[in-house]
Amino acid sequence: MLSRRTWSALVVLAICHGSQTLLAGDAISPDEFDKLHALIKPKPAEEKWTEIPWMTGLWQARQRAAAEGKPILLWEMDGHPLGCT
């Protein structure tokens, strides 16, 4: 016979399983779509660096720097900083 504690544990497990979503092999529920889409996209705190108006053409940046009398800051990565990882 199962103890009260075991039953309680099973009920908790059942409740958790009932609310569990997207186990391997499960289809995505339309009700969850918007939430998932928003969860995956970058959060505002992850986008602080986009407040800098990064240019994407070095030659154009060079022309602008010459015209404005400023130095150039180049963020150069393997994998475009604005488009990979």
């Binding site: 958790c16 399983h17 609310s19 569990q20 979503t21 997207l22 391997a24 092999g25 499960d26 289809a27 995505i28 339309p30 779509f33 998932l36 889409h37 969860l39 995956i40 996209k41 970058p42 959060k43 992850e46 407040e51 800098i52 108006p53 990064w54 240019m55 994407t56 053409g57 070095l58 030659w59 154009q60 940046a61 060079r62 022309q63 602008r64 720097a65 010459a66 015209a67 404005e68 009398g69 400023k70 130095p71 150039i72 800051l73 180049l74 963020w75 150069e76 990565m77 393997d78 994998g79 475009h80 900083p81 604005l82 488009g83 990979c84 990882t85």
Partner: protein, 316 residues
Amino acid sequence: MAKEEYVPVTGDDWYQRRREDAEGEFFRRVANQGPRKGDGGGTRQGIYMFTASGKLLAYKNAGQAPEVMRDVLRQGLAEWKKLPAAQRRPGAVRVEDVDRLDRHYVRTPPAGGLILSVFARALDRDEHGALCDASCKVGGGNEASRDHVWLTEADWKSLVPADAQKGDKIALPRRVAERIARFHLIDNTRGEPPFWRREDIRTLDLGLTVAEATADRLRLRLEGSALLATDPDASRAERGYDARLLGYLSFDRARQRFDHFDVVAVGQHWGEGTYTRGARPGRTPLGIAFELAAVDAGDANVPPQAARELDAYLAQ
């Protein structure tokens, strides 16, 4: 400081260090003044500060250490201010337009094409079993990755069925489905990812259902699944992704363009690549989200990571 005192620009070193044109030569001339001279074709990645004439002011490759970078930015400015005022004034350097680009290493979005933004995020489950953001160390998958999808005009037009009726079902054209699967259902949350080989596609079943068809609008639901694995027996594969997809697309018939293209892929991912070490052990949830790229965003013309091999990326 980066915004006000400098002209900030980004670049993908894979292209820049190979370009045989004025821009590539200029970049290498600057980089050769620093510690990374690209010996043997190696990387020159890092953060550079230099003048329009090509004098290196400062260099550091510590993009994930903000306090270090702040110091280097200050160092670059200090070096800039040491230069004679005549060299720093606006117009002191003349930079002509370039008349030739190395087409092998310059990418431009396909004419009339469609650009999607795509993000990937390591997920976990909260105490209720619901999907949530995974807790990872800085640089180890703690943030969403980002990339772009390029669809040619022929690609996106193939998603708009002629004479569509509500309830109609069509398979996603194979070239579009394969491009999404091979090059965008990937874990790039920790660095440059390995892409899937065509033979890694174990199953790929993506279809569109017409949810609404009126004179001026077409609404489509994208559904399906993909099993991508480096071994025919996925249970033995060193790397794999078992994903389900759902998406909602909306096409404005009058303007002949998509105005929504929202898709989610979620599934269990496992394994890592040469430049994506540090994967979580075992099979763990990975989410990928697609949406239309903002056409006025500064990064909209940044090519897909996989477009380095452009012919393979756009293969029919």
